[in-house]
């Protein structure tokens, strides 16, 4: 619409529109009803639609979170645990872990001569989880 060519009625209508902001919600509704608009029905319908759409959004976000949680659980389940293995296997694996120069953190355990087999299994499990986590981070 070309502003230069606006006639007086268009200007009056525009002014009344801009000045509608001075009206309270109830006053505004009263005027809209006079203009033939079923404003209460419309607002009720919009409230319902907006609430339903927002609920659907929230649920879809929760669905994503649930999917990720399930995926993480399945990864965790696949992690091998050492506690179920034989003592000689655990001792051999732990010795290999401590002697491996790549494992800088293993230095901390070298002087621990009184570690139990269960402790060794736990340390090996933790090391395995760390290794998997680092790999997953690199891949993503």
């Amino acid at each position: 619409m070309n502003d230069d060519e606006k006639g007086p009625m268009e200007n009056v209508l525009e002014g009344l529109d801009l000045h509608s902001e001075f009206l309270s919600l109830e006053e505004l509704k009263a005027e809209l009803r006079t203009r033939g608009i079923a404003i209460d029905d419309f607002l009720t319908k919009m409230n319902r639609e907006i609430a339903a759409a927002q609920k659907a959004d929230r649920l879809s976000w929760m669905q994503i979170a649930d999917d990720k949680k399930r995926a993480l659980k399945s990864i965790h389940a696949k992690v091998m645990t050492w506690s179920g293995k034989r003592e000689d296997e655990i001792r051999a694996a732990f010795a290999a872990f401590v002697d491996n120069p790549k494992h800088e953190c293993a230095l901390a355990f070298r002087k621990k001569s009184n570690l139990s087999v269960q402790d060794m299994a736990r340390i090996l499990d933790a090391q395995e989880q760390l290794r998997r986590k680092a790999r997953t981070t690199r891949e993503s």
Binding site: M1, E5, K6, G7, P8, M9, E10, N11, V12, L13, E14, G15, L16, D17, L18, H19, S20, E21, F22, L23, L25, E27, L28, K29, A30, E31, L32, T34, R35, G36, I37, A38, I39, F42, L43, K45, M46, N47, E49, I50, A53, Q54, D57, R58, W61, A65
Partner: protein, 225 residues
């Protein structure tokens, strides 16, 4: 641990306590936009005797569609603007499209003619240049004169109410800011709000519900107002 999802700016605006008023203002704006286009040749229809329509949609339908487009991200929510400005921008564009579509519907009903060789000829495709068609200009000139006449009648209906007639004069001349109206008319800003409020009672006179219906019928029949 409770993870809380942050609301998008659109959701935050839609959940704001003022949202009801904003939606009502948006419907009022869309309704007035349709009514302004009537003064540009839009032929409106009516639903339930009074609710004005552009095409087959009411102001409320346009607002509902605007919110749907924002939520569906067909239209981006501009967080630097208010929710009302975002909705109004979309409804303006939708109503303008409806007006253009209505204009096109109006010109396809041409009389088929034949060229020198007797083949059917379409006078629209043969028209040279993109200047305003003389017939269209004539209609717009008539509509502008109708506006002036309608405003004079409206103004006269408040004869004796000095403040109201000054307020209407200011609006008709494009002075919308209450501060500007105060400078122009000496009516205090607070009083401008009261005058606007007073006009709720006279809404049918301004929004011309009955008049527009008659106006649309007369346009359809090709009679002068």
């Amino acid at each position: 641990m409770v993870i809380q999802r942050m609301d998008s700016p659109l959701d935050a605006a839609l959940n704001h306590p003022d949202c009801q008023k904003i939606l009502a203002l948006a419907v009022g704006h869309a309704d007035i936009t349709i009514r302004k286009y009537v003064w540009r040749g839009l032929r409106p229809t009516f639903r339930s005797d009074q609710e004005i329509l552009a095409g087959d949609k009411s102001a409320a339908d346009f607002v509902q569609e605007a919110v749907k487009r924002l939520r569906g991200e067909q239209r981006a929510f501009d967080a630097s603007k208010t929710l009302l400005e975002n909705i109004n921008s979309i409804t303006d564009s939708l109503i303008w499209s409806e007006k253009k579509s209505s204009d096109r519907t109006g010109i396809v009903d041409y009389a088929e003619t034949k060229d020198e060789e007797g083949s059917p000829s379409d006078p629209i495709s043969r028209a040279a240049g993109s200047l305003e068609v003389p017939g269209e200009k004539l209609v717009l000139d008539e509509l502008r004169e109708d506006q002036r006449r309608c405003f004079r009648e409206l103004h006269a209906s408040f004869n004796g109410d000095d403040e109201m007639t000054k307020y209407l004069d200011a609006l008709a001349n494009g002075f919308f800011k209450p501060e500007d109206i105060q400078k122009l008319t000496d009516i205090e800003v607070k009083r401008v709000y009261e005058l606007r409020r007073k006009l709720i009672t006279y809404a049918p006179r301004f929004f011309g519900v009955k008049h527009y219906k008659k106006f649309a019928r007369l346009l359809e029949e090709g009679e002068s107002i």
